[in-house]
Every structure is written in C-alpha cells, then in structure tokens.
C-alpha cells in the first residue's frame, strides 16, 4: 500500500480516543476493542461509564483477590464500582441508552458509510447464531457515536465505505471514527479527515478508504497556519 508509516496499536487508538472525552461525560464502551478505552481515561476527568447490564459509574477490573462475583460488565468481565455509582434494572438501563442520556457511545464496527451508517453486529444474513445485544439501542440512543476500528480488514479491504455491504446496525449515527491510521469525522460532506498519523499522506489514506476523504475545515486552518 506504499506507506511505511507504522499503524497505531489498538491500545494506542483507544488512548487517542480516550483523550478526546470531556470531563463529566456519561459514556458507554461497547464490548471488544472499545473496552480498552477505559484503561486510558485521562487523569483528572470524572467520566462516568455505563454498562448495558445496569451499571452507572463502572470502575476498572478488580485485583484478582478483590473480585466481586456479582459485579460484571456487558462483556461479562468482572469490574468494580466507582464512588457515586449506582445500579438499575434492564428496562431502566436501556431507557438511559435509548432516551438520549449518554453523551457518548464507543463502538467497534465492520463498516462505516460516509453518511454515518453503521454495520457492526453481523457479517452476513445467513450467519450461524447471530447476536445483536445492545448495539442497535446504543447506536440510535447516544448523543455521540464514535467508532473505534482498524482502518481496513486484515486483508486490506477498506472499512470506511460509500455504503455498508454488511447488515446495518443503525442509519446515519456515527459522528467520528478512530482508526489505526486516522481520526475522521462524519459530516454532511462525508468523511472529513481530522487527524492522520505523522508521515501519512492523504493520498495513502485515501487508497485505504472506499469513499472520498475531505480535509476538515479545522485541519485546513491548521495547515494554513502551520
């Protein structure tokens, strides 16, 4: 693909995303890679994590000798509670999600389309044992939906596309994408590159992206001044 730039690790993308979460936001981290974001929340910011199974104010994983058997997150891993946290039942937990009370949901994805369509729950309509969980609720409910994913599949197929070919999770919901190569906003113009790895050219990034990339106004201004 012609670039010698070293892509970010999943941990680095998670940390990059975490640094953009403002103080005081209520955030749901989807299962899989988004869960890593919890490990990189910036010091000094109070960010309240929500878990679909009915937790507000979820803390990090416990020390092995401090596991609470009854306290798991949506990924069914043991977690802790922060001071100020609380429990709700399943209907109330999804009232929080669907009702627009979360500032942010971070989700993994198979594909994101330039109009913000999200495909992250199934790779085929004939899949064996499909599973959806809370993905569709989170995608339509959170005030901001940010996607954290590799820029392409392992075989190099772009995940940012003109139109999703995989089954949709929700229509027009993604507002920002953090990949191992770039940070990209989804706007009325389509994909707007907000940030790229140092040394990566727009052309090289475009090569790995199956829809037109635009330079965001913010970034243009930055370039003009820099």
């Amino acid at each position: 693909m012609g670039t010698t730039v070293e892509a970010l690790s999943r941990e680095q993308v998670a940390a990059r995303l975490a640094s953009d979460i403002p103080d005081g936001w209520y955030v749901n981290l989807g299962i899989g890679a988004p869960t890593l974001v919890a490990d990189y929340l910036p010091e000094g910011r109070e960010i309240v994590l929500h878990s679909e199974n009915g937790i507000l104010g979820m803390g990090p994983a416990p020390a092995p000798d401090r596991v609470e058997p009854w306290l798991i997150n949506a990924g069914k891993k043991h977690v802790t509670m922060l001071t100020g946290g609380s429990f709700v039942h399943q209907a109330d937990s999804f009232a929080i999600i669907r009702g627009g009370h979360l500032d942010l949901c971070v989700l993994g994805a198979f594909q994101v389309a330039q109009n913000g369509d999200l495909a992250n729950w199934s790779i085929s309509t004939t899949e064996k044992a499909p599973a959806v969980g809370g993905a569709m609720d989170l995608a339509v409910g959170a005030k901001h939906v940010w996607v954290l994913m590799e820029h392409t599949t392992k075989t190099g197929v772009p995940r940012l596309t003109e139109r999703c070919s995989y089954p949709l999770t929700a229509l027009g919901v993604v507002s920002r994408i953090y990949t191992n190569l770039a940070v990209i906003d989804v706007t009325v113009r389509g994909f707007e590159v907000r940030e790229m790895l140092p040394g990566l050219t727009l052309e090289a990034l475009q090569e790995k992206t199956a829809a037109p990339l635009h330079i965001s106004a913010g970034r243009l201004a930055e370039n003009e001044h820099g």
């Binding site: 209520y26 109070e46 507000l56 104010g57 946290g85 609380s86 009232a95 929080i96 979360l102």
Partner: protein, 226 residues
C-alpha cells in the same frame, strides 16, 4: 470533576425563559418542589406550560404560580381538589388551557419521553371522551389508544437526599412523579432536603441516578406544606 450542586435557587433556574414547558413533581403537596416553584414566581417567566398531577392548593407552591398568571397551559390528571381555588378561578375565566390526561397515561407518557419511546398503545381511556380523536388499535383482542411521549424543557424535582453527581433518593410517598420527570426533561433541577457526600448513597438504592440530573440546590425545606 462533576459537581451539579448550585448555591442558589436563582442559579438552579438560570436559563428558564418564557414559554418553557416545565414538569413539576409531587402528588398533592408531598414531593412538590415548592422552593423552586417560588423561584419561578420570582423569576417571572410567563406563558408557561406546566406538566404535573394536581393543580395546587391554597396560595403556595404551584397555586401561587398559577395565581401569578404565569401559566398558559396545564397538562395534568386531577386539577380539582380541596383548595384548588387558583386553578378553578383561571379555568372558569377561560384564562388557562387544560389538557386532562388519565394519571397512568400521564405517568407513562413522561416515562416514554425519558426512555426514548416515541409512542405507545394503552387500554386506558378507550371508548371515553379522553380518547376522542385518538388513534386506536386492537392488540391481543383488546382495544388500545395511541398516546405519545411527553417531554419537557425543564423538570423541577424534590428529592430527600442528593450528592454532587446528582444521585437522588426520595422520602416515602414523596417519590411519586419525581423520578420519572427527572428523566424526561432537557434540564432537570433538583431541590433536595439533604446534601450528602459522594459515596454516602448505597449504589443499590439510588432512585434517580445522577445521569438524569443537571442541577441540585440544597433546600432543607421541612415537611410538605398544605
């Protein structure tokens, strides 16, 4: 850091303007946030739409707001009660609009707004005047009426205890409409009898998680009046 505590009623009500729709908690005088209502009177905001169960009694709390001529429209289930003279005078003079809603439908419409449910079918009021002109549908052999979510600009809530994250508890029958209204407004303001340090409230028994609350003002008001 999250700190939703504000130091005055004025600060608690900042930004509430004319023509706002305002939910007011309470059933009768119990759980009615009188100090915040008094603040609305002092503020002088006019042309208000009030969503609440009763229409006040005597000359305090909601009755005072009505008597001050600040309310254009009231959405409630039971405006008539011992001492509801302020409401009755306005209503009989044609100076206030009334949308009468069965109490359970009112509660469910408020809950729906907070839970991101656009509308629902209820068997309540089918075949009565209060369903006049509304869509109906037979579901599982039973007739239902279509009712829409009822959101508001502001919710005024009275809590028993609150912390700086906005977590709340209520006292006995003071709970009533307060927890559901807290979920259904763009701005939720809590008048709390007690302020407690974060971590004081048991995570298992928080009744309103702080995610629903924007501002908390400490008002050791004492027992319900009237």
């Amino acid at each position: 850091m999250i700190n939703k505590i504000v130091s005055s009623v004025e600060a608690a009500l900042a930004g509430i303007g004319d023509s706002a729709s305002i939910m007011i908690g309470g059933f009768g005088a119990v759980g009615q946030p009188d100090i915040l209502i008094d603040g609305l009177v002092d503020k002088g905001a006019r042309d208000l739409t009030i969503i609440t169960n009763n229409a006040g009694a005597g000359l305090i709390g909601l009755a005072r707001l009505l008597a001050a001529g600040q309310v254009r429209r009231i959405i409630c289930s039971y405006p008539r009660s011992a001492g509801s003279v302020a409401f009755e005078a306005l209503f009989n003079a044609g100076r206030i609009e009334l949308e009468l809603v069965p109490q359970g439908t009112l509660a469910e419409r408020i809950r729906a707004a907070g839970a991101g449910i656009g509308a629902f079918y209820t068997p309540t009021a089918f075949g009565t005047e209060l369903a006049h002109g509304k869509e109906t549908r037979e579901i599982a052999g039973r007739q239902h009426v279509l009712e829409y979510a009822l959101p508001a600009d502001v919710a005024l809530v009275e809590a028993w205890q609150a912390d700086r994250w906005g977590n709340c508890t209520y006292k006995q029958s003071g709970r009533n409409f307060n927890p559901i209204m807290a979920t259904a407004a763009r701005l939720t303001v809590v008048q709390s009898q007690h302020l407690v340090a974060l971590g004081t409230l048991n995570p298992e028994t928080v009744m309103t998680p702080g995610i629903f609350v924007d501002r908390v003002v400490h008002q050791p008001y004492g027992d319900p009046q009237g």
